[in-house]
């Protein structure tokens, strides 16, 4: 742990200092060693079981307001690079890992993960029994907590407990507004390929407007890859704002926070989109708010789904896809109104993972077909969306 320090001789006979703590709202304290920036960060403590793609996860805006516990013990092995980024804006609030960060090993690495954490102001803690924490979350649900990182190892635990306990929590929180772009912009970058990196869409055949509730760049890349001109608009865009771009299709993005909170202003817009019969595709928060728009309900999950191994069954084909997921809220099955068909379900706990509006070119999934990180089994959904757009245009 903090003893293995390349620059100094290791002295195992002196006491080490806990340079970071994770303090939960109930007063539980986990000690460890600070990584990344110095300071305090508050959020909901969740766990993520993906073994690869920590950089993508940490830059996923859907993780805003969350402290990610990585269940895989070695995080940082491949360092950081400038490509595996899902946003340069706000994303995860902090990280909790088991083993110390190592030097990077990968031909694409630019430097050690710790440097990158510091440069982004991300605060983390290493040396935690992350499996114990994971069990805690599984049993008690995702708690609110504070990670504090201080070189001298001095922490005011009661104050940190109070800070964690008084954090309002994700329920009722509209985080989309904070992570969304403020002005519309165009997106042309396409998917990454070995050898050539990211490409560029120069001859788009259709125009998609993506409403940014916290969109992951890889979603935009997937759309551009399939021949779309992509215009990204803020979460607060009105239906008229969207229509001003004369879209062939509308995309409702992923994002953090409570769908009910963001839905207060987004749902009416989405309802107009549905009514317009313009092909519409929603992912994650976009999926949840589409459900709200047609009269369904969402609820906060006990521990959520976060990982890259989540099995989902496509109820229309019977096929199983392994998906990348990151959600703490879910659409409740019993609230689905007539005229809405459940298309996908989780094989882990049976929750609703996808739906479509009968008779309309409108559908959505709870999980992440854009992957990044995670398996790319569900990329077909983007093609399905493009097919709807093209059929409408034909």
């Amino acid at each position: 742990m903090s003893y293995a320090n390349k620059d100094d001789a290791v002295d195992l006979n002196s006491n080490r200092t806990a340079t970071a703590v994770l303090v939960l709202g109930d007063g539980t304290v986990f000690h460890g060693f600070g990584i990344g920036a110095v300071g305090e960060t508050v959020g909901e403590v969740c766990f993520n079981t993906s073994m690869t793609g920590y950089q993508e996860s940490l830059t996923d805006p859907s993780f805003a307001g969350q402290l990610i516990t990585f269940t895989f013990p070695h995080i940082g092995n491949v360092g950081f690079n400038d490509e595996d980024i899902e946003t340069t804006g706000i994303a995860a609030a902090g990280l909790i890992i088991r083993a110390s960060i190592t030097d990077p090993a990968n031909w694409r690495a630019v430097g050690p993960l710790d440097d990158w954490l510091k440069s982004r102001g991300l605060i983390g803690i290493a040396g935690v029994d992350t499996r114990r924490l994971t069990h805690f979350i599984r049993k008690s649900g995702a708690p609110n907590g504070v990670i504090a990182h201080s070189k001298d190892g001095k922490f005011d635990i009661p104050a940190l407990t109070e800070k964690a306990a008084s954090w309002p929590g994700l329920e009722g929180m509209d985080l989309a507004k904070e992570v969304s772009c403020k002005e519309p912009y165009e997106w042309t970058e396409t998917r990454w390929a070995m050898g050539s990196g990211y490409g560029e869409q120069t001859a788009p055949a259709r125009h998609i407007v993506a409403v940014d509730y916290g969109v992951k760049r890889n979603i935009l890349r997937c759309l551009a890859e399939l021949g779309c001109r992509v215009t990204v608009v803020p979460a607060t865009a009105t239906f008229d704002d969207i229509m001003a771009f004369k879209p062939d299709g509308i995309f409702l993005a992923n994002g953090p926070g409570d769908p009910a909170a963001t839905g207060e202003y987004a749902v009416p817009v989405i309802q107009q989109c549905v009514d317009s019969s313009i092909p519409t595709f929603g992912i994650c928060l976009g999926h949840q708010m589409l459900a709200l728009a047609v009269g369904a309900k969402t609820k906060k999950m006990h521990q959520g789904h976060r990982g890259a191994n989540q099995p989902v069954k496509d109820l229309t084909t019977g096929k199983v896809e392994i998906t990348s997921q990151n959600h703490g809220f879910v659409v409740t099955r019993e609230s689905l109104p007539d005229g809405v068909t459940e298309t996908h379900k989780s094989l882990f706990d049976g929750v609703v993972e996808g739906l479509e509006i009968d008779g309309k070119p409108v559908f959505s999934v709870q999980y992440h077909p854009e992957a990044s990180p995670g398996p790319q089994d569900s990329y077909y959904l983007f093609k399905r969306f493009i097919d709807l757009v093209d059929r409408k245009n034909a």
């Binding site: 003893y3 006491n15 030097d103 990968n106």
Partner: protein, 1080 residues
């Protein structure tokens, strides 16, 4: 999709004997498949010639054929059993090749049998280099530049494109036998020639060398609905150039970004689809250029493999079981994940620990073979270890190997009298792929080489090097600072996987001192569960590993949750090696089954990922841990914290757990069965001699030498030849027969280090005696002599390397009765509770005791299958306290004969002499069963891969002592129509006896000589017995050529006689097949 109802009976083909490249992992897979298919209500027909397997237990399949796995014999079984389908993906390359041959000969169509799991086209597409390449290029995957050659001329042409260095891979061979890396034209010619010869289709692939690239494996499962999941990714620590079976590997892949990992994932799935693996598990291997990430596909196996076993144990996902169920039509989402009990099988396991596998080698058994690794597999076993970090799992794996390592032990680079070794020399050593490379790398750090220098030489991924470097840094801190005086310091060391013993060595103190320091700080391991899901769901299955978790401020979570049951701990056998293999795992598994039936909670401890014992459903609780006193005692203490520990079984796992007995007993742990003191009595020569004296039993003259001069005194007293060996070894390590003072002198100087603590045993050698192996059961009051096995080779050949017959095929009844009486006397005198094995030698009507081992022996499964009593199970229950009488065992007359034959890895170790001796070198065994000795022996030979001739020329060259004894065998062959050629002395003797013999030149006598004749394919059978160093050297070429030409040979007279009987059997009748269940 529900399971298929159009098929009712399914044949499973096993992998046959344990050989390098095909070990216990196929017992694991076959056993799981049998259980899974029976559970679904199918009639299961099993074929496997290996008696030491769990899958051939009569209860596992409906009809169990312990018969040779050849297309001819399997077709006979098909005719008899009329299965609807064959599942060929559970028995390694053997099963796949046999199924392919049956498909191609039309046998399957003739009998209306379909292949399930993998069809003929898929097998051919995956196995045939040309077809595979075409398929991969078609789906856009990169392959190394390469082409196939069928002749040396073609190969030269290919080389013009491919360039040196290049890799030569023969088609359809096991573990890459006969392949290699050529750096120059001379090597190229040599390897291509050998490779063409090794390939049954005379085909080699010459390909671009990607030596030094990163190597990965993906374990993939696919179902009928085309659902594909990755079970596990594996990264090789040894870069490309070392066979993956010989590489240190870790799971999951540790040095890939998600983007690269997903490319590999997509490619793996695309490969399965393109090859057409309809259902089941496959393994896909990749190489990645560390400079630019270029991904190349190396190969795929459309079947369950060694890596599947590793992946199953590493993740908790039972690949073979699931693959068997998918083969009968289920889809992944219809199957449950037993580990969590709440999720389906259709998800990708995710893990929250690191798994390290290290292969175990036995080059020391094959003098003459170079201890260098390459594309042909050489390792005979492997140990796997689990830790929360790479360092922890690596150091646990090192001590799991049981090669005397307690961690990254020091290596000595310097030769005699050198103080300093220069960097270049160390780098040259690191550039060599050898079994010690990992240790050499650690040593190089100690010698001051930088990570970059080590990386340049070894091509190891820098991430792994940095981890090794940090372990070495911690070692330095302990060397200078002693055992840490802070909790944090000691905990940091323990969580990097340092054993107490290693720390004691580094701090120059005693292990007890380290333990005391740990106790003071309250530093203990916790146990975490292997749950397939990284804790996302609660685990129903106590499959656990230890880790030093937490820190000095927070408590770590332990998930052991011991129960309040009455429990028994079974210590397993660790990694496979020559002398200790699957037989002992068989015994441990039986102990688990039996004690569970008797109502105990069974707790297994083992570190071998290939085995059935490390399946999570074999015992009630499983700890995947190193077998050391420290690691096992920690488990026992944890289990003792609740419920009652009835005791620990140490007699079933071979020497491994026995070595722990003293330490455990000293710690107050109850040992079940025969007391460790009685075991010591049997192993301690002096105490044992007194016992024999008391019982009035004979032993060859012997003595214990504690110095070189004592050895000479004893040898002269007894008279040469004598058998010499170090005490306390298994598998005849270091054992030799010496025939004169010079040889003894050489042995004492070169082969052993003799001292007061390490005496050398000197026994009189009984020339041409018959050796007999006996296994018995005893509860201290009554004895049941389960099996008396007469060796076919004479005494002096290691019992593990000898063929043997049950019942004895030549011994008279009075001798057999006397052997039985002596066995009973010994068992009672030693107060054996459980199993005991005795080795006797019979010469001139006199019975001598060679060795007694009051524990499970290698022959236990063979005896159990021969007499149809589950003797290992009964022994386990007797050890737990039941009386032997309660099992009502009776001596039944057998209406059949079983013959066990050993299988050797000589073809993997070029340069090694194949002459058998007192040091065990076989990797596995087969059993032949029939109504008479000749047929049973013949089956054992066929099963062992020997193709006996029915016509042609026999070459006979025997030592003087054997000339008279071999006469009748030669005469019989002449009667059967064979021609005989012999070298000078033998030719003269046989001619003098009136036999028609043609003389040929010895190798030294000018050309053409016998080796020329053999190379021309003019010799069908070789009888060659030799002794003495000079004669051995002179005749080496003969045996080596026989091996290369695959000419059957016998190096003993007794073996020659059995061979003649078998040939007679082939010529006079056809072999019948019969299931074990139908023998009574």
């Amino acid at each position: 999709m529900p399971k298929r109802t159009d098929i009712h009976s399914i044949m499973i083909i096993g992998a046959g004997p344990i050989i390098i490249g095909q070990a216990c992992e196929f017992d694991y897979s076959g056993t799981q498949a049998c259980k899974a298919l029976k559970e679904e209500g199918y009639r299961v027909i099993l074929v496997n010639s290996n008696p030491a397997t769990i899958m051939t237990d009569p209860g596992l399949a409906d009809a169990t054929y312990v018969e040779p796995i050849t297309p001819e014999i399997v077709e006979k079984i098909i005719e008899k059993e009329r299965p609807d389908a064959i599942l060929p993906t559970m028995g390694g390359q053997t099963a796949l090749n046999t199924a392919l041959a049956l498909a191609e000969s039309g046998a399957l169509d003739r009998h209306g049998v379909q292949l399930i799991g993998a069809n003929r086209e898929a097998i051919a597409k995956a196995e045939d280099r040309d077809q595979f390449r075409t398929a991969m290029l078609k789906i856009g995957l990169d392959m190394p530049a390469s082409a196939v050659a069928h002749t040396l001329e073609e190969a030269w042409k290919v080389l013009e494109e491919v360039k040196l260095p290049c890799i030569i891979r023969p088609s359809f061979t096991l573990g890459g036998t006969g392949g290699g890396i050529a750096y120059n034209r001379e090597e190229f010619e040599e390897i291509v020639t050998g490779g063409l010869d090794a390939s049954p289709t005379t085909e080699v692939l010459v390909e671009e060398s990607i030596v030094g690239w990163k190597e990965y494996e993906m374990e993939v499962i696919r179902d009928k609905a085309d659902n594909c999941i990755i079970i596990c990714s594996i990264e090789n620590v040894d870069p490309m150039g070392v066979h993956t079976g010989d590489s240190i590997t870790v799971a999951p892949a540790l040095t890939l970004t998600d983007k690269e990992y997903q490319i590999m994932r997509n490619a793996s799935i695309a490969v399965l689809r393109e090859i057409g693996v309809e259902t089941g598990g496959s393994n896909v291997q990749f190489a990645v250029n560390p400079e630019n990430g270029r991904l190349i596909i190396i190969e795929m196996n459309p079947r369950v493999s060694r890596s599947s076993a590793l992946a199953s144990k590493a993740t908790g996902f039972p690949i073979a079981k699931i693959a068997a169920k998918l083969a009968v039509g289920y889809t992944l989402d219809e199957l449950d994940n037993d580990i969590t009990g709440v999720t389906p099988a259709s998800f990708e396991p995710t893990i929250d620990y690191v798994v390290t596998k290290i292969p175990r080698f036995t080059f020391e058994k094959f003098p003459g073979a170079e201890a260098k690794l390459g594309t042909a597999m050489k390792s005979v076993g492997e140990a796997m270890a689990i830790g929360r970090t790479f360092a922890e799992s690596l150091q646990k794996a090192l001590r799991s190997l049981e090669t005397g390592l307690s961690g990254l032990n020091e290596q000595n680079f310097s030769g005699h009298g050198e103080q300093h070794v220069d960097k270049q020399r160390i780098q040259a050593i690191l550039a060599q792929p050898t079994p010690e490379r990992l240790l050499n790398i650690a040593q190089a750090f100690r010698e001051g080489l930088t990570l970059e220098e080590i990386q340049t030489a070894s091509k190891y991924e820098p991430w792994f090097l940095a981890q090794i470097e940090s372990i070495v840094e911690m070692e330095t801190a302990v060397r200078t600072g002693g055992i840490p005086t802070t909790k944090g310091g000691l905990l940091a060391l323990k969580s990097m996987g340092f054993s107490d013993r290693r720390l004691a060595d580094l701090a120059d103190t005693r292990e007890e001192h380290v333990l005391a320091a740990r106790k003071k700080f309250g530093i203990e391991p916790v146990y975490k569960r292997i749950d397939t899901c990284a804790g996302e769901f609660p685990s129903q299955t106590p499959y656990m590993y230890s880790t030093y978790e937490g820190n000095e401020w927070d408590e770590a979570m332990c998930e052991a949750e011991p129960t309040d049951a009455r429990k028994i701990v079974i210590l397993g056998g660790g990694p496979n090696r020559i002398g200790q293999g699957i037989e002992f795992d068989y015994c441990c598994v039986h102990a688990a089954y039996a004690l569970s039936e008797a109502g105990y909670e069974t707790i297994m401890v083992n570190c071998n990922p290939e085995t059935v014992s490390t399946d999570y459903d074999t015992s009630d609780r499983l700890y995947f841990e190193p077998l050391t006193v420290e690691d096992t005692l920690a488990i026992i203490r944890k289990e003792q914290s609740k419920g009652t520990l009835h005791g620990v079984i140490v007699q079933f796992g071979g020497q491994t757990p026995l070595k722990l007995a003293a330490g455990l007993e000293a710690a107050g742990v109850p040992i079940l069965g025969t007391s460790p003191d009685a075991i010591d009595l049997a192993e301690d020569r002096e105490r044992f001699q007194q016992l024999l004296h008391k019982l009035d039993l004979k032993q060859p003259e012997n003595g214990i030498a504690r110095s070189v001069s004592e050895a000479f005194d004893i040898a002269e007293r007894i008279g040469y030849p004598v058998v010499v060996r170090p005490s306390y070894v298994l598998g005849g390590r270091g054992m030799e027969i010496v025939r004169d003072g010079d040889s003894l002198d050489r042995y004492m100087r070169e082969a052993v280090i003799v001292s007061g603590d390490n005496p050398v045993l000197v026994d009189g050698y009984l020339q041409n005696a018959i050796e007999v192996d006996v296994d018995c059961l005893c509860d201290g009051k009554t004895v049941f002599v389960a099996g008396i096995m007469e060796h076919i080779e004479e005494a002096g050949i290691h019992s593990g390397d000898s063929a043997c017959s049950l019942p004895p095929h030549t011994l008279p009844a009075d001798i057999i009765d006397e052997i039985k009486r002596q066995t009973e006397a010994l068992a009672l005198a030693l107060n054996v509770v459980g199993l005991m094995n005795v080795q006797f030698a019979v010469k001139g009507g006199v019975i001598y005791i060679l060795e007694v081992n009051p524990r499970a022996s290698r022959t236990v499964p063979f005896v159990a299958k021969s007499i149809n009593y589950p003797i290992a199970k009964i022994a386990a229950r007797v050890m737990a306290g039941e009386s032997l009488a309660s099992f009502n065992l009776e001596y039944r007359t057998l209406n059949h004969v079983t013959v066990k034959e050993a299988v050797f890895p000589f073809s993997r170790f070029p340069g090694v002499d194949v002459v058998l001796g007192p040091e065990m070198r076989s990797t596995g065994e087969v059993m032949g069963i029939d109504t008479n000795f000749g047929a049973a022996f013949l089956k054992s030979q066929i099963a062992a891969g020997v193709k006996l001739p029915t016509s042609g020329t026999v070459f006979v060259s025997v030592k003087d002592l054997d000339k008279e004894p071999i006469k009748d065998a030669v005469a019989k062959l002449i009667d059967l129509g064979f021609k005989v050629v012999s070298t000078g002395g033998t030719a003269k003797y046989l001619s003098d006896q009136g036999l028609a013999v043609t003389r040929v030149n010895k190798v030294m006598e000018g050309r053409p000589n016998i080796v020329d004749t053999m190379k021309n394919g003019d010799i069908a059978l070789v009888f060659n017995t030799t002794e003495g160093a000079q004669a051995l050297r002179d005749s080496y070429d003969i045996r080596h050529t026989a091996l290369v030409m695959k000419t059957p040979y016998s190096t003993t007279v007794a073996g020659a006689y059995a061979t003649v009987q078998a040939i007679e059997k082939i010529m006079t009748g056809t072999l019948e097949v019969k299931s074990l269940q139908s023998y009574s």
